[in-house]
Symmetry: C2
Subunit: 198 residues, 2 copies
DNA sequence: CCTACCGATCGGTAGG
DNA sequence: CCTACCGATCGGTAGG
């Protein structure tokens, strides 16, 4: 008589699985996810993992979308209420570097890793990724344009390439090289790249 | 009576396998390599693939090392004979962008992809990768220092982070986004980042 | 959500 | 270098 209850429980189960899959995939890649490993890690059966999603690919897609939401919550939403301008760009950079240094994904920036993993694998995952990356690039470009700062770079698009690149390099320095001053150097590099005072 | 012959043939077989594995791994990742797929692709049996290397991991390591050599041949060696200075740095940037735009790996920059793939997987592959990335970073930093150019960035290490980052962003724009002007924007961004004239 | 099972493929070996 | 084979694991399904 209370289908609400079981629906809510089903939604919670999905959430748990996706959350665990995101953490796991940040370490071993989305293609490294296996239903058996997730089942073991969550103390469930394989059919309990795959059932709610229908296929591994659907679970991968939902994990990717969830990761995008986590990124937005960490980097975009904290500055969304501020007026556009150099100060908001500076705070966005701080949030971004903070996200890389104290990463919500145990294996480092999810989207960066997924990008190199899927750029050569056509399919719905690559399509989702393209959309996410393009949307973020546009937003960042707009943010830089709205800040109206002077820099060595000749267009907001060029500066966006530089900031996105620095974030990837910082991610590598943290995750692969264990470089302790990667975050500070990255923040300075980002500020310098868009002409913000140190 | 001619062991030379069979030794040379064995070496050629190894070479063929490693070369094919590099191309394949640039598309599906080093972890996506399977002995069966390589065997099919090369028209050989699985034992013919794994035999010369002893294990899949050893083949992965040799593929990674080979990829490093291909990068050096494309980006470092062309400028090795020139005197250090701004002109050599400019030519290095041109070679680097050319490598990204007309990539010897069908799936894009091998080391960038391997870095995000293995930064969360401890083991000999990650160790090899760390060494390769650290060596390249040091060389690039030295190159920037030797050029003695003025830029918005405060140290050769910071500028190296920016150039490496731009290369990663350009790789993404080419491989994932199919952005036609990625190479030109990347070249301009790299020159601006190290204070070279456009 | 579970157990039990499917055919396919995994890395690798034995023996030649 | 091959064929033939090993136990383990893959994604997924049937039936409950």
């Amino acid at each position: 008589m209370s289908p609400r209850h079981s629906l809510a429980e089903a939604a919670r189960t999905r959430d748990r699985i996706v959350g665990y899959a995101v953490a796991e995939a940040s370490r071993v890649g989305l293609e490294g996810l296996t239903i058996g490993t997730l089942a073991d890690g969550l103390g469930m059966s394989k059919s309990g993992i795959v059932g709610p999603f229908g296929s591994r690919e659907q679970l991968q897609i939902e994990a990717l979308d969830r990761a995008g939401g986590i990124f937005r919550a960490a980097v975009i939403e904290p500055v969304a209420g501020l007026p556009a301008g150099p100060d908001r760009l500076a705070r966005l950079i701080d949030a971004w570097i903070g996200y890389l240094a104290d990463c919500p994904f145990p294996g480092g920036c999810f989207v960066t890793a997924a990008s190199t993993e899927f750029d050569g694998r056509p399919g719905p995952l690559r399509d989702h990724l393209r959309t996410a990356v393009t949307t973020w690039r546009s937003r960042l470009s707009g943010e830089i344009a709205a800040a109206r700062v002077e820099s060595a770079h000749r267009s907001p698009d060029e500066a966006a390439t530089v900031l996105i690149g620095i974030s990837m390099a910082v991610n590598q320095e943290i995750q692969l090289l264990d470089e302790p001053d990667a975050a500070e150097r990255g923040r300075a590099a980002m500020r310098a790249a868009v002409g913000l005072p140190q």
